[in-house]
């Protein structure tokens, strides 16, 4: 049990965690860099502590500064949010070594799932299908070529230490693999400090599905799936729950396999298992697990009524899961669009600045998770996510109409956002019919 929680993050997710903690009667501590002194999270938290200069490497990624802030404020637990230190096992260890509670899984779980090759082995051991690929890492080009012959081209070369869509290259054939292997190795070494690579079959027309799980270290439940196929540069921009592409049988098999995998790991906290789904064959393949809360968690909350962040905090307090699988039902359809400070007409050029005017949508079935307020600064130093517009309705068609209505109400002046792109997407026949895969958006944008 703890009564004071430090939120080691910024932006909309810091606000989200503070809200959940307040509703549980837990006092909150925000941390902030020079660039975030006036942020909404700082305003909403019971206390706020400065942790360093604007660059994330000197503030939100500075483990010592964050632990020191927790000590100073007498916080008993730390919630890492997403990004930054959320999947850093050293951070989880440092938090526990300081006698504090890390709101998330154990460092050992984070480490295993963060190592893509180890995660894959764990999936296989739990009889969860994985994308055909090399058995572990490929040490050199000869091993890579031998593995590719078995897997079949095209293949993806992936950095073992990569993630979030980074550290991935596609080789269409033998020559492409020979050409790219050494560069990929060097890039992985430079970007992640570890040059280890593995191979996977590249599925050319796949959907991105993911299953939300919650565990208390003993029991695990799932909260159904999300579909996140609309991506640009492997960054999700539009997410839905449930997936419009799978039927009930497939859903049951998919979610059961996710639970099987995390049960073996005695998983604690909220987590997401990501899968690729081949619509032509009906096969799904596990790709990786995120051992933290995700940006798109609200759509799951909308269709299930489960407050995932509240559950995370309760579990970290040592409480058992408040839910049995049979208690979790799915109602209606939810869509989230990410409003980023980027200009879709200028190749998504970042658009930091000061928000001169702001109108947020409201009304039935609309939820806004945001860091924005009129007059706030959008600093150039961090991720471009400003707000998430989340809609929920009885059916997907009504949710789409609600999304179009909400986007019409959304106005921001002073910066450029991706809202216009979402307006366009929400009108498209293909999107309305849910005819898309992970390559859809990029094709649309280059057409």
């Amino acid at each position: 049990m703890f009564n004071k929680l430090l939120v080691a993050n910024r932006g909309e997710i810091a606000v989200r965690v503070i809200r959940a903690a307040k509703e549980l009667g837990v006092r909150t501590v925000a941390v902030f860099s020079d660039a975030d002194r006036d942020s909404l999270a700082v305003q909403f938290a019971d206390e706020a502590i400065h942790i360093g200069p604007a660059p994330a490497s000197k503030s939100y990624l500075n483990i010592d500064a964050i632990i020191a802030a927790a000590r100073r404020s007498c916080a008993e637990a730390i919630h890492p949010g997403y990004g930054f230190l959320s999947e850093n096992p050293q951070f989880a260890e440092a938090v526990e070594a300081a006698g504090l509670v890390f709101v998330g899984p154990t460092a050992a779980t984070i480490r295993m799932m963060g190592d893509k090759a180890a995660a894959r082995s764990a999936a296989k051991a739990a009889d969860v299908p994985v994308v055909p690929g090399s058995d572990g890492e490929v040490a050199d080009i000869d091993h890579a070529l031998a593995a590719a012959r078995e897997i079949g081209f095209p293949v993806m070369l992936k950095a073992s230490a990569g993630g979030g869509g980074r550290g991935i290259r596609v080789a269409l054939d033998r020559a492409g693999l020979e050409h790219q292997f050494h560069t990929a190795q060097a890039e992985a070494k430079a970007a992640f400090g570890n040059g280890a690579l593995y191979l996977e079959r590249f599925l050319q027309r796949a959907r991105h599905l993911e299953v939300q799980v919650l565990g208390d270290g003993q029991h695990v439940v799932h909260c159904f799936e999300r579909e996140c196929s609309l991506q640009r540069r492997r960054q999700k921009i539009w997410e839905e729950a449930p997936s419009p592409a799978i039927d009930r049988e497939t859903r049951d098999v998919l979610c059961a396999s996710a639970v099987r995998l995390v049960e073996r790991a005695r998983y604690r906290g909220a987590g997401t298992l990501e899968f690729l789904y081949d619509e032509d064959t009906g096969e799904f393949f596990f790709i990786e697990m995120n051992t933290r809360i995700q940006v798109e968690h609200p759509i799951t909350e909308m269709i299930t009524g489960v407050d995932l962040v509240r559950e995370m905090i309760r579990i970290a307090q040592g409480e058992p899961l408040g839910l049995a699988q049979a208690d979790i039902e799915m109602r209606g359809a939810a869509i989230e669009v990410r409003i980023n400070a980027e200009d879709p007409d200028q190749n998504f050029r970042p658009s930091p600045g000061k928000v001169a005017a702001l109108a947020l949508p409201g009304g039935p079935g609309v939820r806004i998770d945001t860091m924005l307020y009129p007059g706030c600064a959008v600093p150039p130093y961090y991720d471009s996510l400003l707000a998430k517009i989340i809609v929920h309705a009885q059916t997907r068609d009504i949710a789409l109409a609600r999304l179009r209505r909400a986007l019409d109400e959304f106005k921001v002046e002073g910066i450029v956002t991706t809202a216009g792109l979402h307006k366009r997407l929400a009108q498209l026949d293909d999107v309305q019919a849910a005819r898309f895969d992970t390559g859809f958006l990029e094709k649309l944008l280059t057409a």
Partner: protein, 81 residues
């Protein structure tokens, strides 16, 4: 002889090197030609190269590696022949 300031076109974090373990693009005293890359600005996780808009010899950098910059802020001083 006159001096010329190269300005950052964007707000963000200024880097003098293409990657943390790589050497800087340019050192003090180096000659630069117009169009040479002299640094990077990271804005919201996107990297934009800064190019010299004049040729000459580098007098000094006006911003430290990994320091925040504002749009229009001078980052490099060049002695133009």
């Amino acid at each position: 002889m006159s001096e010329h300031e190269v300005l950052s076109p964007l707000p963000g974090i200024f880097y003098r090197r293409p990657a943390p373990e790589k050497p800087p693009y340019k050192e003090y005293g180096d000659q630069v030609a117009e169009g040479d890359t002299i640094g990077l600005v990271e804005v919201m996780k996107q990297f934009t190269e800064i190019q010299a808009d004049a040729g000459g010899k580098i007098v000094r950098f006006l911003v430290d590696d990994e320091a925040p910059v504002e749009p229009g802020q001078p980052v490099l001083l060049i002695e133009v022949a």
